[in-house]
């Protein structure tokens, strides 16, 4: 319990330090763009693939459910709602957290145990500004964009399967998709992605900075980081879903 409170306190302090540095100079724009590329654009293949398979599975699941009652026309809307409100942001974030969160922890952890972070401080540069903040902001900004792309690729794959297996036409499918998307669903999607992105960036960096005990410590911290990020995303998803549920009720 004491250890948990200790980590919560340190994570809160780190978040506050990053927030302060976001709105003060110097700000490392080039490093931010570099991280947006390496954490964001480099995650495109995993994002699109996840979206495609989610779309295919959701279509089959929806088809099984509605086939018995002869309501195949509900399939596009059911897929749209589940993909945009819940499955897209959560599964997408978990997939990307596996890649990005572990990457951030292992990179920062390795730099710590090889004294690179100390070297940076000695050379007069604040590692929180130069290394940590760009990574935190990059994944927070890029995750919503990636999740939107994931949802879109999921809908495209769902359309192809629905048209082949359920004989649903393109016009009908996409009309139903557009009717299924509510403004609040988009807000829900983007809010969740932003929060999940923040969790990945904050926790990934935090566990990297906490590494002790050489390369073995880096491996341990990376595993812990991924587990904590996964659980935190699911916990945050529950809280956010409850909030949106109260709004939509």
């Amino acid at each position: 319990m004491y250890l948990l409170l200790f980590h919560i306190q340190n994570i809160t302090i780190l978040f506050w330090q990053l927030l302060r540095r976001t709105f003060s100079k110097p700000f490392y724009w080039r490093d931010l763009l570099f991280e947006m590329d390496s954490l964001g654009f480099a995650s495109l293949p995993i994002t699109i693939l996840t979206g495609i398979f989610l779309g295919l599975v959701l279509t089959l699941q929806a088809a099984i459910g509605v086939h018995k009652i002869g309501a195949v026309s509900l399939v596009p809307r059911a897929i749209t709602i589940s993909l945009i409100r819940e499955i897209g942001p959560v599964v997408g974030s978990l997939m990307i957290a596996g890649r990005v969160g572990s990457g951030i922890t292992s990179q920062i952890g390795s730099m710590k145990v090889t004294y690179q972070l100390d070297a940076m401080r000695v050379l007069g540069t604040d590692p929180l500004r130069k290394l940590i903040l760009p990574k935190f902001l990059a994944i927070t900004i890029m995750l919503p964009l990636l999740i939107i792309l994931l949802c879109f690729s999921g809908l495209v794959s769902a359309y192809f399967l629905a048209s082949v297996n359920l004989n649903i036409g393109a016009v009908f499918f996409w009309n139903e998709v557009l009717r299924g998307i509510k403004f609040l669903d988009l807000i829900n999607n983007i809010t969740k992605s932003l929060v999940f992105g923040g969790i990945i960036g904050l926790f990934g960096n935090y566990f990297g900075l906490e590494v002790e005990g050489g390369t073995e410590g880096v491996g341990r911290a990376t595993t812990t980081s991924v587990i904590v990020i996964f659980i935190s995303i699911l916990a945050a998803d529950f809280i956010l879903t409850k909030i949106f549920y109260e709004i939509l009720k």
Binding site: M111, T114, Q116, V122, L123, G124
Partner: protein
């Protein structure tokens, strides 16, 4: 004529996780001298350097650098102090995602120097350590000895008055280690750069030291010349010397 003190620690104590690492350490570094701190693993040698760089805060005592009391400085204050100090970490601590040019010129890039000036200064510092040819290499392509020489070049960029070396020869073969020793001595003789060198390797310590200090269990048990050290009858020092001779 009395020599000028550039670094001083007065009765410095430091504890880490309730363990007393340093217990009332006193240290003086004079301009242009090589001070070697000897000690076994976990004796607190590297902690002294970390305290002198503001990477750790002492629990008691005062630290003076270039005459200024730096004990209670915040991180912004330390950034100013560190500009006058060079540091060569164990195994170099080069930024592994940057080229040698970017590593050596890191401080200059951060301070907004023009590219041509950075190139000139970086080449000049690399030339001092005999590594101008690897300017575009990545740290992963360099040997252990080359990494440390690049780290020395990086430490020289700010034209520091003092350089700290943390185990500069550990893990290197004897030929490469002697090259590093030669470079450290050359910096003292040609550029009047003072150094604090932390090591546990006696052979190189003797080649480097103008003055030696021996740390044991967080306290200095010896301070003096290499000759005095060799003649010391302190049981720990005798054991330290004997073990090395057997090796």
């Amino acid at each position: 004529m009395s020599r000028q003190i550039i670094i001083e620690m007065r009765d410095v104590w430091f504890s880490y996780r309730e363990r007393e690492v340093l217990k009332g350490v006193n240290l003086r570094l004079y301009e242009g001298e090589n001070l070697v701190i000897l000690g076994g693993s976990g004796s607190g040698k590297s902690t002294i350097l970390r305290l002198l760089l503001g990477l750790e805060k002492c629990s008691r005592g005062r630290i003076y650098i270039f005459g200024k009391d730096v004990t209670d400085l915040n991180e912004d204050g330390w950034f100013e102090v560190r500009r006058k100090i060079g540091m060569v970490f164990q195994e170099g601590a080069l930024f592994d995602y940057m080229s040698v040019r970017e590593n050596v010129g890191f401080r200059l890039y951060e301070e907004g120097y023009k590219e041509e000036n950075i190139d000139r200064i970086v080449r000049e510092k690399l030339r001092i350590v005999g590594l101008e040819s690897v300017i575009d290499a990545m740290p992963g392509d360099l040997s252990g000895g080359m990494k440390r020489r690049v780290a020395i070049a990086r430490a020289l960029v700010g034209e520091p008055g003092v350089i700290f070396y943390d185990e500069p020869t550990t893990g290197l073969d004897p030929i490469t280690a002697r090259t590093i020793v030669r470079h450290i001595n050359m910096l003292k003789e040609q550029y009047r750069v003072a150094s604090i060198i932390v090591t546990h390797e006696l052979e190189y310590a003797f080649s480097l030291a103008d003055r030696l200090m021996m740390l044991k269990d967080g306290k200095f048990i010896f301070e003096g010349s290499v000759e005095d050290f060799k003649r010391s009858r302190d049981p720990y020092i005798v054991k330290f010397l004997g073990r090395e001779e057997m090796v």
